[in-house]
């Protein structure tokens, strides 16, 4: 049987993994369509890396199954390795070998590797091709690691913390590399805790919290679950007359905390609030307007902010 365009590139069903007493992944199911960039977003310890390791066939799930391009990740390992490229978090390579030597070595493992020079150039490492791995900066190691994940022309790529440790320019370069991958029809599973990256690149995102998928939607779909579209925050010198803002068009909620006021709502919220305050003669300082983002959605859905340890807001 041959793959059809409608069959998913990655299909995980009821994955469960426990390390001694700690449950790392609990009932994780997800389906990634061919050609999709699919994000897994969550805090440290949410189970992202374990999920990825189960999908890559590096660990055996206690329960559940994973199929990548229809291949069972444990039983069809040999076939899977041909079509799956993996970039592992903080991967260490042979310390005394150079960039070019490592790319060549990994290229020999595959039938039709990307030519050495092209690949090194595409990740911006041409100037350091003769540098040993041990002398590369963190960002350069990361780029080499991505090059090695792509060297065998994989049809599915797993990238764990793609741009961690990269400077802004290198990060944008990686993002355009990923967009080129998308154009060539490669399926990408992107693990991240960088909101901006996920919002920009991913077609769909699974939010992982405490080993479970708490939401699975497009980035904009998730943002809608934040419960508000816009938020205006300001401080006042004199108190805001009660009921002034609540009655305005588009306002969904007003929260006052001392001299700090947060208004949530829709439409031309910032303008409406400003006009009302001026008419009421309230002097305002530090006005800030923001669109709801994935981090707000994350907070609403899980009760914690992304990347801030154990802080619980609820």
């Amino acid at each position: 049987m041959h793959a059809t365009t409608s069959s998913p590139a990655i299909e995980a069903d009821g994955l469960h993994k426990r390390y001694r007493s700690k449950v790392a992944v609990e009932e994780v199911s997800l389906s990634v369509a061919a050609g999709e960039i699919f994000g897994i977003l969550g805090r440290n310890g949410a189970g992202k890396t374990t999920t990825v390791e189960l999908i890559a066939g590096l660990r055996r799930p206690d329960r559940g199954t994973v199929r990548v391009l229809g291949l069972d990740t444990r039983r069809d390992r040999a076939r899977l390795r041909q079509v799956l490229g993996v970039q592992l978090q903080e991967a260490v390579l042979h310390s005394a070998l150079t960039v070019a030597e490592l790319v060549h070595l990994y290229g020999t493992f595959y039938r039709d590797p990307i030519p050495l020079g092209d690949l090194i150039e595409s990740v911006g490492l041409t100037a350091s091709r003769r540098t040993r791995f041990e002398n590369l900066s963190g960002g350069q190691r990361q780029r080499l690691s991505i090059a090695l994940a792509l060297v065998g022309r994989p049809r599915v790529v797993i990238l764990d913390e793609l741009t961690t440790g990269l400077d802004p320019e290198a990060r944008r370069q990686m993002w355009s590399t990923l967009e080129r991958l998308r154009e060539s029809g490669v399926t990408v599973l992107l693990v991240s805790h960088a909101m901006e990256e996920v919002e920009r690149l991913c077609d769909r995102v699974a939010l992982l919290d405490e080993g479970r998928v708490v939401a699975l939607d497009s980035p904009s779909g998730l943002v809608r679950r934040a419960g508000f579209a816009q938020r205006v925050t300001f401080r006042t010198v004199t108190p805001v007359p009660s009921g002034l803002l609540e009655g305005l068009d588009g306002v969904d909620g007003v929260h006052t905390d001392g001299d700090r006021v947060v208004v949530e709502g829709r439409g031309e919220l910032l303008q409406a609030v400003s006009v009302a305050l001026v008419h009421a003669g309230v002097t305002v300082t530090e006005t800030r307007g923001e669109q709801a983002g994935l981090d707000d959605a994350f907070l609403t859905l899980t009760g914690h902010r992304l990347g801030t340890g154990k802080e619980t807001v609820r």
Binding site: L69, G70, A78, R79, L80, Q82, L88, L97, L105, T108
Partner: protein, 254 residues
Amino acid sequence: MTDVTVHRPGPRAWAALLICELKMVVRDTAGLIVPIGLPVIILVMNASSAGQQMIAHGRTAFDVYVLPLVFTMIVATTGIVNMPSFLAHYRRSGILRRLGVTPVSPVLVLVAQAAASVLQITLGIAAAWILATLAFGANPPVRAGAALGVLTLTVAAMYALGLTIAALSPTPNSSVAIGMVVFFVLGATGGMFGGLGGLPEVIATIGRWLPFGAGSQALSAAWIGAPIESSGLIGLAATIVLGGGVAAVFFRWE
């Protein structure tokens, strides 16, 4: 099911891995000091005390006692110290984990590493032999074929032991420490510090069965043209079978 044919990495991958392992060894200068530098020092230090007194068949005490000891040391340091330490480094750093997601089998990595260290052993023995011939007038073994056979058996036994240490030690770091301890225990009971004759009878007897003593004794016998004791050969063969079996059962890549 997706149409994916299995492509096993072929000779190109083997060759590339072997070359990479050799580059790693050459660029890590400390890695060359133990198997090559150390035995050369032992050779020089023992050369004068062993002297040129004839034992038999025109072979001197230097030929019969010092050279087999030095050759066995080269094999033992590579097999039971360097091997577990290499595996410890590859496991701890995640190199094996990274290779585990490529089509290359981790066994291929192990084989490449083994081939690289056989070359290291060959180089170490060649260096010691050239020095021994030029500086101390060493003579070749009377039974060269038997000497080569014993040496091969010793290499296999030391590797089996090295793999057992790597497989059984609880952490990568402990495997290096255990390797060092095993090396000195085997060396001490095998006559590394002043010959088997100087040891208490019980220890010397045990030492003759263990791979270090067994290897150097058998090599010594081949050198002088004497028959090789069966206890030594049995000891070496048993180490290969037991060590290989234990390693195969308990080995972990991570």
